[in-house]
Amino acid sequence: MPVIDVIFTDLQRLIGVPLPKGRDALNDLLAYVKGEAERLEGDALSIEIKDGNRPDLWSVEGIARELRGVIGVEDGLREYAVTGYSGVRIDVDPRLETVRPYIGASVVKQVRLTDDVIRELMHLQDKLDQTYGRRRRRASIGLYNYRLIKPPLTYKVTRPEDVRFVPLGGTEELDLREIVATHPKGIEYGHLVTKHERWPLLLDAVEKVLSIPPIINSNDLGRITEGVMDILVEVTGTTPQTVLNTLTIVTLSLADRGEAIYSTEIHYPYGENRQVSTPELATHVVRLDVNQVHRVLGANLTADAVLTLLKRARYDARRVGEDALEATVPCYRIDVIHPADVIEDIAIMLGYNNLEPRWPQQITIGAISAVEAFSDVTREIMIGLGFQGILSFSLINEERLFTQMNVKDTPVVEIANPTSSRFTLIRNWLMPSLMDFLSNNTHVEYPQRVFEVGDCVVLDDASETGARTVRKLAGLIAHSNASFSEAKAVVDAFFLNIGFPYRLNEAAHHSFIDGRVGNIVVHDRDVGVVGEVHPRVLAMWGLENPVTGFEVDLSSLMDI
């Protein structure tokens, strides 16, 4: 979840009233924006915003906007409107349709910037790029010094070697390929353009480079500095709605520190809407019924109460009938896509802790699943036989699953994106996990008797997922005199107690000593194995006591 670094006094100034400094009181307040103070040192406040779907809250301005309503500094809709056309027109090259098709831009004038504010702004930009912009693939943001730019702009493509400019933070002019190879942002995001023969490029009327979206701005036009500035915001991306939403959020954050918003005009050679004015700061209306609110929340709220709560959440709201309401959703609330989203805001403003909890009255009968019930029986038997239960990871690797068990690789479920060489496969039997456990306890008092009832996964073409989760039981005995017959005695006791007759078929299994291993067969079905572990296997696990044990497929037994 995004963690937002803000300046405490800046947040306070934007809200307009003093904020509590105590951690608990601050968190009680931040709970209204699904936030939690992670760190408060001096003036530096880090807030974790738990809502991954409300990028409007990922900035100090957005948090302040919402808390002004919560605290009651103001309520209802905060109006944001376009003052006029900036005169900036952007012409889009048809070849961008397959590269990075969409662009939006706005101009915010008279933005008051300090170093702290610039840092907060960069932080918002980064959070949007990373999360909502999907690491700049779906949307990326550029900010420019508007006064240095000569409109109209051209959003086009270019061969990387044909254009040279000084990237932000750089000192010398490089061609695009050099920038992608050497600039930190080029290294991080270069893969988004290098797959294309021609790369996106944003130029002004005198062919000065604004940026290579979504990599890096020019140092000349794309540098934001302290003071009062007119800023051009530009967002490019792969879906129109994401581009517009991102543009709205950045534009409004700047507008909260500036004077006025001006639009730009985008001219596309493709798509349905060939001429688009951005930003789009349109609100939309959600119709609600008081009874609907009641059905969801279980709270008897009057229409007036709902109206008040909506306004506190920065909606405009009005009654349109006895129980019918209309809520005007602010343009930055891109998360509101269903009436439930509005109802949650009503509940938040009412306060979750003001709703009386109620245990649902419906009568239901509880039960554990059949496989868990059977597992419990087998656990009882194993515990009665003196075995210590263990719990192990079901992820394992080839070395432990095959090599150290002295068996050939067999097909099992393999992970495409493992994070560690220790966890690359899902086990198809438990015994390697138990051997692993014994190998970690060679210094512990013998005899050792351990068991696990756990899930394994076996490949199965007949299954809808090509694999089947199976519950298995395995037990191992280790001590100086451990022998085949001791394990067999356990298997005898086990099958006697679950009420299945079984027989042993001689088997060749290289994990065990030849002639001291058998397949456990129930009603002609192979359900497991019992044997004395081969000394070669013991050596590979570093064990110096004989080990004997068994494994049974409980899922198969349940099918019989």
Partner: protein, 426 residues
């Protein structure tokens, strides 16, 4: 030797005298030195030869008399005459001649208690340590004394079979949920992206679906969703334009290939989604799952790459957010033993409203204990569920770690047999 010398003429070489005496070298030297000291003989040198000369047979001294007396057997000090006692003093200075022994006689008289004990002991039977089947069968044990033991003596350690400590905790939890009327749900470890994500209204390019958050299966990569074709169609429409759910949807083209992609279950909510399409679903119904879930995290003190999640749903007509708060409060008091509960707004892609549950106990203070919400209609309606569904998940790992006094999350799957053997069951 001196007697022999006198009888042999009073004069002899050393060698002859030694041969005649039949003494060894050391004994002969001692004899010569004492005979010289007593004046029984003297040494003369003539023609380069050393001669022993004795004039008369030696008189018997008190030391000889003492030795003769002792030869007959040990003598008490009090029986020796004064001259013999003087001789004893001299002889005791010489090694290996006399042996002094102290003989002590003591007399004891039994007290009355002693007499009683003797009488009792005369009557006591034979004592044994081990009772045997033979003794029992024959009845001989009746005439035997069973020896007492030192009951304080240490004995061999015994380690009873028992459940793994964390599993035991999860079992307690499972029975509490059953007692509250919840039925267990099941589902596969290798799961469709459909149930894990799409049916839960997570857009297909959602960050939580990237390779950093979900394990993808290498082979088989895709499964067969044909048994759920209706639900897939509805979920697709919901993602694209909201379908009949009252939502605008996410507005992107939904991939029916991505939805068939196989992954390792990353959240227990996948089982809830499966339950909603299960023909055995009961309405009203309460369900729980205790499932192993997987995420591509690097394992350290605070992260596991597989872990257990406890999740569930309550399905029924007329359920409200207040009912959800009631369920959470019940969990907090029944499972964590909380004195107080606190609810705060939270976010999950598949619920609205969403809530975070914190439980307060005096030992641990506030503990974030769970997350919950009402399933969005974008989740329920495409799966064919027309009634409200309350969904909840409990963070029980931290609760167990607190109770077991462990701070390293890897200890949930401990490899330490000694620790497991020593875990208390109370």
């Amino acid at each position: 030797m001196v007697t022999w010398l006198v009888r042999a003429g009073g004069r002899s070489s050393i060698d002859d005298a030694k041969r005649a005496s039949r003494l060894d070298d050391e004994g002969f030297n001692v004899a010569i030195s004492w005979a010289l000291r007593k004046g029984w003989l003297h040494v003369e040198k003539a023609d380069n030869a050393t001669l022993l000369v004795a004039r008369k047979e030696p008189e018997e001294g008190s030391d000889e008399r003492l030795l003769a007396t002792l030869d007959a057997g040990p003598q008490a000090f009090k029986d020796l005459s004064p001259p013999l006692l003087v001789a004893l003093t001299d002889l005791r200075k010489r090694p290996h001649v006399v042996l002094q022994q102290r003989n002590v006689k003591r007399r004891y008289i039994l007290t009355e208690a002693g007499l009683q004990a003797v009488k009792a002991a005369e009557k006591a039977p034979r004592a044994v340590s081990q009772l045997t089947p033979e003794l029992l069968r024959s009845g001989t044990w009746r005439g035997l004394k069973l020896r007492t033991y030192d009951i304080q003596a240490p004995v061999e350690a015994l380690w009873p079979g028992k459940k793994q400590a964390y599993k035991r905790f999860l079992d307690d939890l499972k029975w509490k949920l059953v007692a509250l009327g919840f039925k267990e749900m099941e589902g596969p470890i290798v799961e469709f992206a459909f149930f894990n994500c799409d049916a839960l209204f997570m857009p297909q390019d959602h960050p939580a679906r990237e390779i950093h958050d979900i394990y993808y299966v290498k082979h088989p990569a895709y499964g067969d969703l044909s048994s759920y074709s209706t639900q897939v169609r509805h979920v697709q429409a919901t993602h694209e334009d909201g379908w009949h759910t009252g939502s605008t949807g996410w507005g992107y083209p939904f991939s029916t290939e991505t939805t068939r992609r196989l992954i390792l279950r990353s959240q227990g909510t996948a089982l809830s989604a499966r339950m909603l399409v299960n023909k055995d679903l009961e309405i009203p119904g309460k369900y729980y799952s205790l499932s192993r879930c997987y995420r591509p995290d690097v394992v350290d003190r605070t992260h596991l790459t597989e872990f257990n999640q406890v999740e569930g749903i309550v399905v029924g007509d007329g359920l409200t957010f207040r009912d959800l708060l009631g369920v959470l409060k019940m969990f907090a008091t029944e499972i964590s033993g909380a004195d107080k509960v606190r609810f705060r707004p939270d976010y999950f892609p598949f619920t609205e409203p969403s809530v975070e549950l914190s439980a307060y106990t005096t030992e641990a203070g506030w503990l974030e204990f769970g997350g919950a919400g009402m399933f969005r209609q974008e989740v329920t309606l495409p799966l064919g569920i027309e009634v409200p569904v309350l969904a909840w998940g409990l963070g029980v790992d931290r609760l167990f770690m607190m109770k077991a006094g462990i701070s390293d999350i890897r200890e949930l799957f401990t490899q330490d047999l000694t620790w497991l053997r020593r875990q208390r069951l109370t």
